[in-house]
């Protein structure tokens, strides 16, 4: 019966309470003191501690001896249980959304190109946040001086936004029709047809393996 009370002697109960309430591991001498037991009972108290240790051996809480002192500790195999994972929903900043969209439409694209399109410098944080979302990935390096990383979207991006293919992103006419883009745009205003093929383009070099994931 797991619900039977398990039995402890009066002294074991006291030891249990003392060790539970203690703010640090306690040595035998301190325990004897607290129990107001004489030195003669050192052996007996020691025996009780070992008995308690045995009783708790298979429990979620163990009685352990560290540096000669006794303490209750949660069982080592249950450590992961003591980490509660909490998922915090977070909204992407406008800058991050815009950068993500530019990467989606203009991929493969470099940071410099993103900045050129946005007209402002992209902070390192923005790309970091996007990397954390798992929606963008470094694809390769552009064959230009400096070999900047080219960015593209991942399958996770398609997944999150519910696209079967990147080509389902609305084009210029659809954006105009939805009212998101003004219809009086300059004639040369273009929205590229996005493509996220896994193969590198002619002007892309593979990422060095050790640099993958870096900026």
């Amino acid at each position: 019966m797991t619900s039977d009370p398990f039995v402890a002697s009066a002294r074991q109960r006291k030891l249990e309470a003392l060790l539970f309430a203690a703010t640090e591991p306690l040595d035998l001498r301190t325990l004897l003191n607290c129990l107001e037991e004489s030195e003669e009972n050192t052996e007996a108290v020691s025996g009780d501690l070992e008995a308690l240790q045995a009783q708790y051996r298979e429990r979620g809480v163990n009685l352990v001896k560290v540096a000669g002192k006794w303490a209750f500790r949660t069982a080592v195999d249950l450590a992961s249980l003591l980490e509660r994972h909490k998922v915090v929903p977070r909204k992407l900043s406008r800058a991050a959304l815009e950068t993500l969209a530019i990467i989606a439409y203009h991929q493969p694209t470099t940071r410099a190109e993103i900045e050129e399109i946005r007209g402002v410098a992209t902070s390192k944080g923005t790309l970091d946040v996007l990397l954390e979302t798992g929606w963008i990935r470094p694809r390769g390096r552009r064959m230009v001086p400096g070999r900047p990383v080219t960015w593209g979207t991942s399958d996770a991006f398609l997944n999150h936004f519910g696209f079967d293919s990147i080509r389902e992103l609305p084009g210029l006419e659809e954006l105009k029709a939805s009212g998101l883009l003004d219809s009086n745009l300059p004639v040369d205003f273009k929205v590229p047809v996005p493509q996220d093929s896994k193969e590198l383009r002619q002007d892309e070099l593979p990422l060095d393996t050790e640099e993958e994931g870096g900026i």
Partner: protein, 272 residues
């Protein structure tokens, strides 16, 4: 009465309590109104002192005790707070109602017995709450009678971000970002190029004629440079001025077949 002893014993108390040292009457009873938290407190104390049972209370007797006490305090010229005097007045009224037959009582006025019962109830209730507070303190308390674990490992909360964005946000950010750039280009253009300078027009013409020696109408040459059709007029005017200047310098040749016809321009062939 422990309370009186305590209070008297604490002697010099701060502030308003300090001026009222206790005054003992013939029965060794201390008159010190400052010791009480209002008339109800005083009445409860009197009830206890006179061993009155609050459940079968003799309100009349308690009222008399109260009035005597106030009289004593008055005789000793102690300051008496208004609420004690109000209570005294009310108890005098209650006493008279209880003593005198209720001949001229009206429907609107509650019976004297009801008034007395109401007072008895209030006293009982206050005493009950006082007792409840004490029972609460005598009961088990954390860190006095039971203890939590002294050294809890704690449960660590690991926060993971889950980013949220919907397709509308994404497209709206893209569209507004692209539009912002368009506005950036066009707006300063409009302001700056509202009026083309001759120098500006000449720079443009020099670029164009650099790689073409054919006759070309000035207006159509300029069109490719205009992001805003409204600028056509000022551009043409400036270009006309610039072309005259360039013709004078021998860089270009100009031709117009007749008045109001298109004005043609070409680079002068240096080999000629």
């Amino acid at each position: 009465m422990a309370k009186n002893k305590d209070r008297h014993g604490s002697g010099e108390q701060e502030g308003e309590n300090a001026c009222h040292s206790g005054v003992t009457d013939d029965n060794g009873f201390i008159v010190d109104l400052e010791e009480f938290e209002g008339p109800l407190d005083l009445m409860l104390d009197l009830a206890r002192t006179h061993k009155l049972d609050l459940t079968h209370i003799s309100i009349l007797y308690l009222a008399e005790q109260f009035l005597q006490y106030i009289d004593k305090a008055r005789a000793l010229r102690l300051d008496i707070a208004a609420d004690y005097l109000m209570m005294a007045a009310w108890l005098t009224y209650l006493k008279s109602r209880l003593l005198l037959p209720d001949e001229n009582s009206t429907e609107e006025e509650p019976a004297a017995e009801e008034l007395a019962a109401r007072l008895a109830f209030r006293l009982q209730r206050l005493e009950a709450m006082r007792g409840a507070g004490e029972i609460l303190l005598e009961g088990k308390q954390l860190y006095r009678d039971f203890f939590p674990r002294g050294e809890p490992e704690g449960i660590t909360v690991l926060r993971h971000s889950r980013y949220e964005a919907d397709i509308y946000d994404l497209l709206a950010a893209y569209a507004s970002g692209r539009l912002r750039k368009v506005v950036d280009i066009v707006r300063p253009g409009r302001e700056r190029r509202k009026v083309w300078s001759i120098k500006q027009a000449r720079q443009q013409l020099e670029k164009i004629i650099g790689f073409d020696c054919q006759w070309a109408p000035i207006d159509s040459l300029l069109v490719s440079f205009l992001s805003d059709p409204d600028e056509g007029r000022t551009a043409l005017a400036a270009a006309f001025g610039a072309s005259l200047e360039m013709a004078r310098e021998g860089v270009v040749e100009l031709r117009q077949d007749s008045a109001f016809n298109p004005l043609y321009l070409r680079r002068r062939d240096k080999r000629k």
